[in-house]
Point group: C2
Chain length 342, copies 2
C-alpha cells in the first residue's frame, strides 16, 4: 500500500478497532512480511501439527479501559478471551501464559484484585496459567495495566471446522444476546447512568463449545466469537473467507431491552458492538435443532437462537433482513467507534 497522505503514515486508534482499518494494516504491513500458510488463515487460533496431534495456539493483548467494569475486569477478559479463541478452533484449552505490563504507580491492591479475578476465571474455564512475565514501564508510558495472554489447546478429534465446509442451507446459531460487553465498557467510560443495569457478558465458552463439537461432531462446521468488531465483523468475514453468502434475521438476534436502549442513545448498531461471552456456530441443517437444544441446556446458552443461514446469493455478501422486512448489507465496521474495548 502506498501511503496517500500524512494520516496514512501513522498509527491511528481505528487501526486497533478490529474492523476494516485493522484488516488494512494487517494486509499492508504485517501479513506480507511474516507470510506463511498457518498465519495467513487468520483464524481465532492457529492450528499446528505436533506428532499427529492438532495443537491450537492463540494470543491476544488486552488494553481495555477502565480495567474494571460491571461484570468483569481486564483479568477475566484475558483468561476468557484467549481460552474462547482456542474453543473456537474446536480445542480444549490446555494452558495459558500471562504477560503483565505494569505502569509505575499502579496500586498493588488493584493488581491483587486482577490476579484474584484471573485465578477465578481460570478455575471457571478449567485452564491454568503455567508461565508468565512481568514488566514495569515508567509512569505516563502505560495505563495501569496491560495484559497479554497466549493459550495452547488440543483440538478435539471430532472437530472438523473451516470456512471451506460451509454449504447453502447451513444454519447459524448464537448462544445469547449480543452487544453487552462493548456497551457496558462504553457506558462506564461515558458515565451513562441509565445504563447501570448493563453488565459485560465476559465468560468462558470452552466447556459449551467443546460439548457442542463432541456431540454433533462434523455437523458443526464453523465457530467464531464476535468480539471486537461484533456480529457484523464476524459474518462479513465469513462471507469474504468462505465465498458463501450469509443472511441474518434481525428479529432473531437476541438483544436485551437495556442493550437496545443503550445502543440507541449512543447511536451505535448493536451488530457492530463487541461481545466476550458469545459465539456463533454454523451447523448442518439436520443438526440445527439438536444444537439449539444443547446450547439452551447450558447456563451460557439459555437464550440461544437460530439467527440466520448460508444462502446461494452471488457475489458472496453478508446481509440482514431487518425487523421491518427490508434487506441491507452487513459491512465490516471501519473500526474507530470503540477503541480499547478489550
Amino acid at each position: 500500500m502506498q501511503p496517500t497522505g500524512n494520516l496514512d503514515q501513522h498509527i491511528v486508534l481505528a487501526h486497533g478497532g478490529g474492523g476494516q482499518l485493522t484488516s488494512e494494516l494487517l494486509n499492508a504491513t504485517i501479513l506480507p512480511v511474516l507470510d506463511n500458510p498457518v498465519l495467513n488463515k487468520l483464524g481465532d487460533s492457529a492450528v499446528l501439527d505436533l506428532a499427529g496431534h492438532r495443537l491450537a495456539f492463540t494470543t491476544d493483548s488486552y488494553v481495555v479501559q477502565p480495567i474494571e467494569f460491571p461484570g468483569g475486569d481486564i483479568g477475566r477478559l484475558a483468561v476468557c478471551g484467549t481460552s474462547n479463541d482456542l474453543a473456537m478452533a474446536g480445542a480444549e484449552p490446555l494452558a495459558l501464559s500471562l504477560a503483565l505490563i505494569l505502569e509505575e504507580g499502579l496500586e498493588i491492591a488493584t493488581l491483587q484484585r486482577i490476579m484474584a479475578s484471573i485465578a477465578a476465571a481460570g478455575a471457571e474455564a478449567n485452564v491454568r496459567v503455567v508461565t508468565g512475565d512481568t514488566k514495569v514501564i515508567e509512569r505516563g508510558r502505560g495505563d495501569g495495566l496491560y495484559i497479554t495472554t497466549a493459550g495452547v489447546g488440543r483440538v478435539l478429534p471430532e472437530a472438523s471446522l473451516g470456512y471451506d465446509r460451509l454449504e447453502e442451507g447451513d444454519l447459524i446459531l448464537i448462544n445469547g444476546p449480543i452487544a453487552e460487553h462493548g456497551l457496558t465498557v462504553l457506558s462506564r467510560r461515558k458515565n451513562l447512568e441509565f445504563a447501570s443495569r448493563l453488565r459485560s457478558d465476559v465468560a468462558p465458552l470452552a466447556a459449551l463449545a467443546n460439548h457442542l463439537v463432541r456431540e454433533l461432531k462434523d455437523s458443526v462446521k464453523l465457530m467464531r466469537d464476535p468480539t471486537r468488531s461484533g456480529l457484523a465483523g464476524v459474518v462479513s468475514e465469513i462471507a469474504a473467507a468462505s465465498g458463501k453468502s450469509v443472511l441474518i434475521e434481525e428479529d432473531e438476534v437476541p438483544l436485551t431491552a437495556e442493550a437496545r436502549a443503550a445502543a440507541e442513545v449512543l447511536g451505535l448498531d448493536p451488530l457492530t458492538i463487541a461481545n466476550e461471552g458469545k459465539f456463533i456456530a454454523v451447523v448442518a441443517p439436520a443438526a440445527a435443532q439438536a444444537a439449539l437444544t444443547l446450547l439452551k441446556s447450558h447456563p451460557l446458552g439459555c437464550q440461544a437462537a437460530i439467527i440466520g443461514r448460508i444462502t446461494p446469493e452471488t457475489p458472496p455478501l453478508a446481509e440482514l433482513i431487518t425487523s421491518i422486512g427490508g434487506r441491507r448489507v452487513i459491512q465490516m465496521p471501519y473500526g474507530e467507534q470503540l477503541p480499547r474495548i478489550c
Copy 2:
C-alpha cells in the same frame, strides 16, 4: 506480605527489573493466587504433557527503550528472547505468537522496519509467527510499541534438564562475552559516545542449544539464559533452586574491553547486566571438553568458556573468585538499575 508503607503499596520500576524485587512481587502477589505445580517451577518455559509429548510453552513482553538500538531492535529481541526461552527448556521452537500494542501516532515506517526485523529474526531462528493480535492505545498511554511474544516448542527426547540433576563437580559453560545487550541499550539511552562500538548480542540460540543437547544428551543438566538480571541473577537462582553451591571464576567469564570500560564508567557490575544472546550450560565433568568444543565450533559460541562449577559448600550460595583471588557472594540484583532493558 503485609504492606509496610506507602512505597510497598504501589508498583515501582524495580518490580520489573528481574531481580529481587520482581521475585518479591511474584511471590507475594502472583504465584500464591495462580498456584499450580507447572507455574511454580518458574523455568524459562513451562513444560506440558501433550499425549506423551513434552511441549514447552513460554511468553515475554518487550518494552525496551529505545525500540531500535545498535545490534537489534524490539522485534528481533521479541523473536530471539522467546525462542531462546524454549531452547533453554531443551526444546526446538515450533511457532511463535506476536501481540502488538501500538501507540497512536507511531510511524507506519517504524512498524514496517520492526516487522521486517521480526521476519528476518524468525528466518534466522527457524521459527514462524503463526498467530497474532494488534491493539492501539491513545497517544500518551504507551511508548511507541510494546510487543508480547509467546512460543511453543517440542522438548527434544534427549533433553533431561532440571535443577535436581546438578551434582558436585559439574562444570558451567557460557557461549561468549557477557553484558553487551544491557550496556548497549543503556549507553544509547544516556548518549554515551565512548560506547559507540558496543552492540547488543541479541541472537537466536536454539540451533546451538539444541545441537548441544542432541550431541551430549543427559550430560547436559541445565541451561539458562542470563537476561534481565544477568549472570548474577541466573547463578544465584541456580544455587537457591538446586540447593547446590555455584562457584564462578571472574577471570574466566568472557568480557570485551568495550563492555568492561562501559560498565566501569556506568558504575555497573557486568555480572548483573542483561544478555540476549548468551546461555550457560551446566554439564557433567566428563562431557565438559566436548561441550566446549561443540560451542566453539558455532559462530554464536566461538568465545565460549568454562566459567565455574558446582561445589559442595553449604549452605548453598553462588560465589565469585575475583581476579585478585578474593571470594565474594554473588547476590540476586535488587532490580532497579536498568529499567526497560528488554
